[in-house]
């Protein structure tokens, strides 16, 4: 555990060396927010309604901002990182550490999220709230969002690690992670709210992990979970945990097999 904290601390320092990459979102997001405000104001006024597909005006505008808020909780670059270290042979030095690659990279992913929350999420929330106040937010909804977001982070990490392991076979997995990102945006509900898609399609999406990484955290963030909040929290959380356990088991089995194929290029 101490090791874990030290790795987090170390990566924290590294991330801070490049803190300006994070802060860039802070410049772009307000512009998008203004565009969305103008767009949805005219849509809501034209239709003379206060709710579309169950989304109030603030919720609708914030939906798109929420997507980036979620990313600062769940994003990681593990899939490409594994590929890079296999192609360059750097994985050899990772294997010399008395800690599993899985745990080492998890620690690095966690610390990168701490930095993102600090320089992205926190100032972002203040800036965005000044532009359009998130009236929908309550303490209860925010706390349940945090729980779902942490689980979504773990799920996303495992999913990324599993995809990253494909590099053991195909070496460069850029295409896989590109496809994953597109799917995650569309199927996960990052592009448009999933309520705009047909019911049968949503049924299919329910069977994929993407919704539990993006869509559900957004729903909890926007305080849009219908009925009993606690019940939904338990229900969604359990599905996330199921995915997490499943991915974890598959990773453990596959890693043992694939690591034998690693040939530590160079030198």
């Amino acid at each position: 555990m101490k090791v874990f904290l030290e790795v987090i601390k170390l990566n924290f320092k590294i991330s801070f060396q490049y803190k300006w990459t994070f802060a860039m979102t802070l410049l772009v997001q307000p512009i998008l927010l203004f565009i969305n405000i103008a767009l949805f104001k005219s849509i809501y006024t034209y239709n003379d309604t206060s709710s579309i597909k169950g989304y109030g005006f603030e919720q609708m505008v914030w939906y798109y901002t929420a997507y980036y808020v979620i990313l600062s909780f769940v994003w990681n670059g593990i899939t490409n990182q594994i590929s890079r270290s296999i192609i360059s042979g750097e994985l050899a030095t990772d294997l010399l550490r008395p800690i599993s690659v899985f745990r080492f990279m998890l620690a690095s992913a966690i610390s990168s999220r701490f930095v993102a929350i600090l320089v992205d999420f926190l100032p972002g929330m203040i800036i965005y709230s000044l532009i359009l106040f998130p009236a929908f937010l309550t303490l209860k909804s925010f706390l349940s969002f945090l729980i779902i977001a942490v689980l979504a982070f773990l799920l996303n990490y495992l999913f990324s690690f599993l995809l990253g392991m494909s590099a053991m076979i195909i070496k460069n997995n850029m295409s896989i992670s590109a496809i994953r990102e597109v799917l995650q945006a569309i199927v996960g509900g990052g592009v448009i709210p999933l309520e705009f898609m047909p019911v049968w399609l949503n049924r299919i999406f329910d069977l994929l992990p993407f919704k539990y990484i993006i869509y559900w955290p957004i729903q909890f963030f926007l305080n849009r979970v219908e009925g009993d909040n606690l019940g939904s929290l338990v229900r969604i959380g359990s599905i996330q945990i199921l995915w997490i356990v499943a991915f974890y088991v598959v990773i453990q089995i596959l890693w043992k097999r694939l690591i034998k194929k690693f040939c530590a290029a160079g030198g």
Binding site: K2, L10, I14, A92, L95, L96, P98, I99, F262, G267
Partner: protein, 327 residues
């Protein structure tokens, strides 16, 4: 534990390599659909035993299997066949436990965190290897003095020179006081002063802490300076395994006679000798002591040539190694 710290038997490692006959776009397009694989045996039936406290040199031509052997021994690679016993561990199956007991320096790879000062990597290692505060502080102090890196370890690694970085890599590998350290080409690209600093450091640690070192290198002066015993790997297997002294006298029945002349000579004078190299003022003559006695040869030289200076040497170590590499 047996008297050997490392005991390797019948080690074999095959790599499956994707083969493409021609260069060019068409053939790489073709390789999308039809792929030929070739099995390359990097290490083949290799046996190796190393005693506690040794500094063992591991040399061999490029692609002989040195690095592959080191990578198997340090738990990175899985071998195809064979058994390895290092301090009672099988490196690749007990990797996480085993790597706590070893240190590794790769001359061509860095274990330091690129963006941060080396001291941050040391702090991480302190936790990973559960090094006590006292040992950590003592070792840092010890290495700082020995390697003269007081200022170096607080600068970001990306700003260090190669020599400074290598010194930090050594600290990184030795901080947890492992009984066994693998060095894969540790002096590659270093200048003569840095090389000497690194070598005397290795010798010092070996003497004071009894650390066993396994060194691969292409620099024979490393081997001559550091090792008592040397193993030569060629085509994936050990072809020579003995002391440096034995390597120097490998061709014990061959001698090289170096003659300097007092004046320029006519090349026709050298016709009766087995000349390996010559110039207007010197000649190197190789003799086989089984066929010709040294005494006869020297008296013949004195009789026929204008000798100013004469030296009798063993075949030099580079020639020996070249001979072993090529055979």
């Amino acid at each position: 534990m047996s008297e050997y710290i490392i005991d390797v038997e019948g080690l074999k490692k095959d790599f499956k390599v994707h083969k493409r006959d021609k260069s060019g776009l068409l053939s790489s397009l073709k390789s999308l659909f039809i792929r030929d694989y070739k099995l390359v045996t990097a290490v083949n039936n290799l046996d190796l035993r190393i005693r506690q406290g040794e500094i063992r040199g591991l040399i061999g031509p490029n692609g002989a299997g040195k690095s592959t052997t080191i990578k198997i021994l340090s738990g990175i690679l899985y071998p195809t066949e064979g058994t390895v016993n290092v301090m009672g561990y099988t490196p690749w199956t007990q990797r996480e436990e085993y790597v706590k007991k070893i240190g590794v320096v790769f001359g061509q790879k860095s274990q330091l965190v690129w963006d941060l000062p080396a001291i941050d990597t040391f702090a991480l290692n302190k936790q990973m290897y559960s090094i006590s505060d006292k040992t950590f502080d003592n070792n840092i102090k010890y290495f700082k003095e020995l390697l003269n890196i007081g200022d170096v370890i607080t600068k970001p690694v990306r700003q260090l020179s190669l020599g400074e970085r290598m010194k930090c890599e050594f600290v990184c590998a030795l901080l947890h006081e492992p009984p066994l350290v693998y060095l894969d080409e540790p002096t590659i690209g270093l200048d003569i002063i840095s090389k000497e600093a690194i070598r005397s450091f290795i010798k010092m640690v070996n003497k004071e802490k009894g650390t066993t070192f396994i060194v691969t290198t292409h620099d024979l002066s490393d081997i001559e300076d550091l090792c008592e015993n040397v193993s030569i790997i060629n085509n994936g297997t050990i072809v020579f395994n003995n002391s440096i002294e034995k390597l120097k006298t490998y061709f014990s029945d061959k001698k090289v006679i170096e003659v300097k002349f007092s004046r320029q000579i006519n090349p026709s004078l050298l016709e009766g000798f087995k000349v390996t190299s010559s110039g207007p003022y010197f000649v190197n003559i190789e003799i086989e002591t089984i066929n010709t006695s040294l005494q006869d040869e020297i008296s013949k030289i004195f009789k026929e040539l204008p000798v100013q200076d004469i030296n009798v040497n063993n075949i030099n170590i580079e020639e020996v190694i070249k001979h072993i590499y090529l055979s």
